[in-house]
Symmetry: C2
């Protein structure tokens, strides 16, 4: 099972590593990190991840995963990337995104008339496309699964594993990464956050 | 605020990146990735993270964070690392671990008579030291905070932020990473897992 993860400068590290940690444990998974060039890409803090494959080298994948990050806006106008995403999507069983990665799928025209989600701060931007945006942790529409911000990629990846390899495989991975979350606060979504915090982050 | 994160070959990527994503958002944080050498370290899947600082160059940190991973066992017998961990701990306000990273703190003699935790599969190993192991997502004892397996580092890091910069700072970061977890299954701890899955993973 070939899983292509597209990286770009200014991606968000946890958008990528959350699902990565889950999907590397999927039996038979072969994960390919792909970028426009073979080089190290930096997240928005300068953390570098070397990418071994350029988009010119990868023409098929069973799963395509697009993480998000501040850098996604620049990628949205890269015609070479859009063409690659459209082409790979024709070969996939599942095409998925984390956080603002949904914008790239939308810009490539893949989410037209689909129901999807993204980071809460990106929802207005995603609504500009002809699609339906919902408040869900992750949402499946056909072969597309989009997820909410950053940490939501872990939940989405476990769901994806359950679809690909069954519930037992997903449960086993959940236990392996001891994913029994207990955040010390209950402030993980805009509905739960005090107005003051929401205002500060919405600027 | 200087935060040193120690990496080693065969670390677990999410042990490191979960808290990293949280702590980079802590106001004034300067995160230093540190290894025995300046080189790229690989997680157990071959994902490489370049490390800019060798332990010889870093002699102080406000926070020391030790992630876990299969490779921790090899590090436990590295006297140079143990000496460095002991020395840095003398300079820290907080010394914390994720997953099997607690074993390195214990081996360095820092957790003697402390109450702590680790990945569920590592608890018997940690119990060989003169300390108390508890079943908690994370546990603070004085300036030490140890956490359960892999994904528990996110919860621990949010708690750590609340101690360092206050509850509002932690809530703001939780909202920024949209950490409102909704795992599709409830199988994230050995108490919740079916016996069959537990057996398979315990082998």
């Amino acid at each position: 099972m070939k899983i292509a993860i597209f990286l770009f400068d200014q991606f968000t590290a946890l958008d990528f590593v959350g699902p990565y940690e889950v999907l590397t444990k999927l039996p038979g998974a072969q994960i390919l990190l792909v970028g426009t060039e073979k080089k190290a890409y930096s997240d928005h803090t300068g953390l570098k991840i070397p990418v071994k494959h350029s988009i010119d080298e990868i023409d098929q994948a069973d799963i395509l995963l697009i993480p998000g990050g501040f850098g996604i806006d620049k990628v949205l106008s890269d015609k070479r990337v859009l063409e690659w995403v459209r082409h790979i999507n024709e070969t996939t069983t599942w095409t998925v995104s984390v956080c603002s990665g949904a914008l790239l799928l939308a810009q490539a025209g893949l989410l037209t008339e689909k129901t999807c989600t993204t980071h809460w701060r990106r929802k207005d931007q995603l609504r500009k496309f002809p699609l339906t945006v919902v408040d869900e942790r992750y949402i499946q529409d056909g072969k597309f699964i989009t997820s909410a911000g950053v940490s939501a990629g872990i939940d989405m990846a476990l769901y994806l594993v359950s679809k690909v390899a069954g519930d037992q495989a997903a449960r086993m991975i959940q236990l392996a990464i001891e994913y029994d979350p207990k955040p010390p606060f209950d402030c993980g979504s805009p509905e739960k956050a005090p107005e003051e915090i929401l205002q500060k982050l919405s600027r």
